[in-house]
Amino acid sequence: MNFVSEASGGYVAITDYRMGNLFSVYQAVVACGLDARITDDEQEILGAAAVILPGVGAFADAMRFLKASGLDRTLRTVAERGTPLIGICLGQQLLMSESNEMGHTEGLGIIEGNVERLPVTVNTNTGRKNKVPHVGWSRLTEPRPGAWRGTALREMENDDMVYFVHSYCSLPINSADVLAEVTYSGVTFAAAVQRENVLGFQFHPEQSGECGLAIYRALFKSILTRGSV
């Protein structure tokens, strides 16, 4: 099904800030029947039906590039205008106020909270430490009953798993901003955050098989038919 035809000028802008798996995100968005554009152009980003901020790599490098290029202001404008803004992995972390990854760096500050390193814990059964980065497939949980109703996660089934690869995680100050949680080695943290039109996934929907594509489809369907996330 092609959602683009339902929307006016409906393309998804994938923000190119020289960090991360832009092409993998691009292929997944296209597979969902959407028009995707990899871009660092302010006007093209501001004209998009939805904006994705992907990313793998270091928080400080990413912020440095966003500030130097002025894309930090563009992305804040996107958020303020009510256009859906979707951060993925590092992109989710960049939405937060600040990160403690290798020192202290200010983020975009769209969702209040910190980014902290995943703790190393000892498994009481095996006596072995957990690995960081957290690489692999995990189940998402609803932080509150009904939290996924009407959201991009509305079609998730109990056994569905999504793919994570990260060493840091976001800790939103307001629990209402947490859309989904995940537990890794006994530690529970935010797997997805959302405040109105701003959404962040710590996992990679584009690498999460049919379940991930279903999340993108659900997300873009709401965007392009209702104009909101």
């Binding site: 798996n21 092409f23 980065p133």
Partner: protein, 284 residues
Amino acid sequence: MTIRIIGRLDIKGDNLVKGIHLEGLRVLGKPESYADLYYSEGIDELICMDVVASLFGRNSLTDVVQRIANNVFVPLCVGGGLRTLEDIRVALRAGADKVAINTAAINRPEFVREAVEAFGSSAIVVAIEAIQQPDKRFTCFTDCGRQESGVEALAWAEQVSELGAGEILLTSVEREGTGGGLATEFCRQIADAVPIPVILHGGAGHVDHVVDAITEGHADAVCLASLLHYNAVRRLDIDVDELGDDGNFEFLLHYRDRGFSKVSDATVGSVKAALKAANLEVRL
């Protein structure tokens, strides 16, 4: 932690090949046919390895990777002959999510740090291809298991994790392609010593070997080729005339239905069922 089952596609030219000890390459079909099949059957990740690239100093994998990435939405790792940051950029642009580096890292360890700084830890996998020496130590080999580096595997694993590598892909070259079981003891030494995930590859000939890799070897993921390919080769529709010329066609032309005697019958599903039966968590 959920155990990942990773399919490994060794590629020569446009063809999926399978060797023994990384040598003697039998053509098994088109890599994208296998990728699509494994994806539809629930593979957790795929690794595409250009098995001769490092020997000839070339990168021919881009088109194959692009064809796979168009249809496969699980993590895709690409390796073989990646020597520069530009090589990595090209692989990621083709749709890879991660790259595996071996020869270039051994030749110049700082390359690992530079790659991590440019693309992030999660995109950089260091492939360690090791052979046990008469003195019992495992040393690293480069150029598809042909060149001994003299670098000791455990020390190298610790060094690359300090340099920022996101994962280690550990291959026991002498077991690779034999179906005789994975190098569980060797894996345990490495997996217990480094803070990053270790993927064990080489030698799985039975679903029980995969279980052993996790329970005995402490691997975080297992990478499979023969165990899956020799079942898939009988189920896939393969037109030999459509394949490229690279590799040895003897198997595909004459022995395809027989499979490979050293490897029992398995699929992604049967491997995961065996792990689940052993109380290990898998994605079904």
